[in-house]
Symmetry: C2
DNA sequence: CGATAAGCGGACCGGCCGGTCAACTTGTTA
DNA sequence: TAACAAGTTGACCGGCCGGTCCGCTTATCG
């Protein structure tokens, strides 16, 4: 019971399916596409629960596939992480760019930060943001997101909704804080981060602002 | 060239030196005390550089001792972590309690937060704060620190230096944010956290405060 | 359908890591 | 200084984890 190849030549190298986010050389097979999606959500869940130490084996199990399948889709654990980060960053950038055309710039900025909080409420992947050296594609997506934030802040500032001495970088950095902070509360209500976003956002407002002791950083 | 024991009985069990933070059954031998100190700072440095994944072997190497010595002093890697956390927490509590008698309650609270930032500037050990299930001794020290913060906030609140709707828990949680945030900046000036502490502290002030969307959590 | 290659799975490998142990060295004490 | 306990050390162990590999299954297409 076997299928001996008519030509007993060396087995095909089977390079990893696609260069991960390069343009599809061939449309993904149906089951492969499904497994890829399963893997991405399973991985996100697993990372959210156990941090970056989540094992590839566990991710595979959670997705209901073999471990080999993980590596077929993502040559490296880092590639898997990068794929997830890329998704999140681009989602957020889309939201940011849409809000650039909103009526009230101050409300738009706040809404953006709420969207960011919601995204991280579902699965806390904060640590992914800075995980290791980013792949160039991720860096690029981050830069695009960063630009959107910069624009949102600029609009809010000229509208007088935020203090004049805060920059896009500041907001980019502070964006992560509310979820981070509420992550330390053992049985926190899922949207506790809103409380700390509110406090921090009050700190961004012009009213009662004290001068800042350090210049804004650049990324 | 050897020292065969006159009585070839089974070697002594050699239980781990002391129950780690129990009262010293006997004063530590001189070299042992020195090694213990070396280990604590080496471990703190190593954790700061590589996170909790820093290997015990690396810590031992950095301290210039053998790996076995680490485990003699700290039966478990977790015990080593706990010892470090305990130090930090108690240092901070001392500062907090001292500031309870300061003249200006608002300035005292700010000074406390600056002290916290400084402590974490030297070695960022944020992740240690919530690392795994805390040992009871650490939990207890944390509770004491928490009480000091609660008192500082209460004084500042009645003095009108912070808004009425923030609690000690809020400050306890937000205390970690400035260092966390500035940790994402690649080549940040070492005290960049001061900028974000200033922003957040402005958010704690009564002037221009908007009502908070979520009730304060309890720990 | 039948053929083909894309995709799948899981045994397997090397390496690392936390922790143990027994032989050895050294501070301490009388 | 002699003798002992306290302390040190690094080889060693079991387990886990990222990544490989190859025989098998199955979607796809003529």
């Amino acid at each position: 019971m076997s299928t001996p190849p008519t030509t007993p030549e060396a087995s095909r190298p089977a390079r990893p399916l696609r260069a991960e986010a390069s343009r599809p050389s061939r449309p993904l097979r149906a089951d492969a596409a499904r497994n890829r999606a399963l893997l991405l959500t399973a991985a996100a869940d697993e990372f959210a629960e156990h941090g970056l130490d989540a094992s590839v084996a566990d991710i595979a199990r959670r997705a209901g596939v073999g471990k080999g399948t993980v590596f077929r889709h993502f040559p490296t654990k880092d590639d898997l992480i990068a794929a997830i980060v890329l998704d999140r960053v681009e989602d957020l950038r889309t939201v940011g760019e849409r809000l650039l055309t909103a009526d009230d710039p101050g409300a738009a900025l706040l809404e953006f930060l709420i969207a960011a909080g919601h995204q991280r409420q579902q699965r806390d992947l904060s640590f992914l943001m800075a995980a290791g050296e980013l792949k160039p594609e991720v860096k690029q997506a981050q830069a695009a997101l960063f630009q959107a934030i910069e624009d949102l802040v600029a609009r809010a500032r000229t509208a007088g909704a935020v203090r004049t001495d805060v920059t896009g970088t500041d907001v980019f950095l502070l964006m992560c804080a509310p979820n981070y902070v509420s992550g330390y509360v053992p049985d926190a209500p899922p949207d506790l981060w809103r409380r700390y976003l509110a406090i921090i956002f009050d700190g961004l407002r012009p009213e009662g602002a004290h001068t800042l002791p350090q210049p804004a950083p650049t990324l």
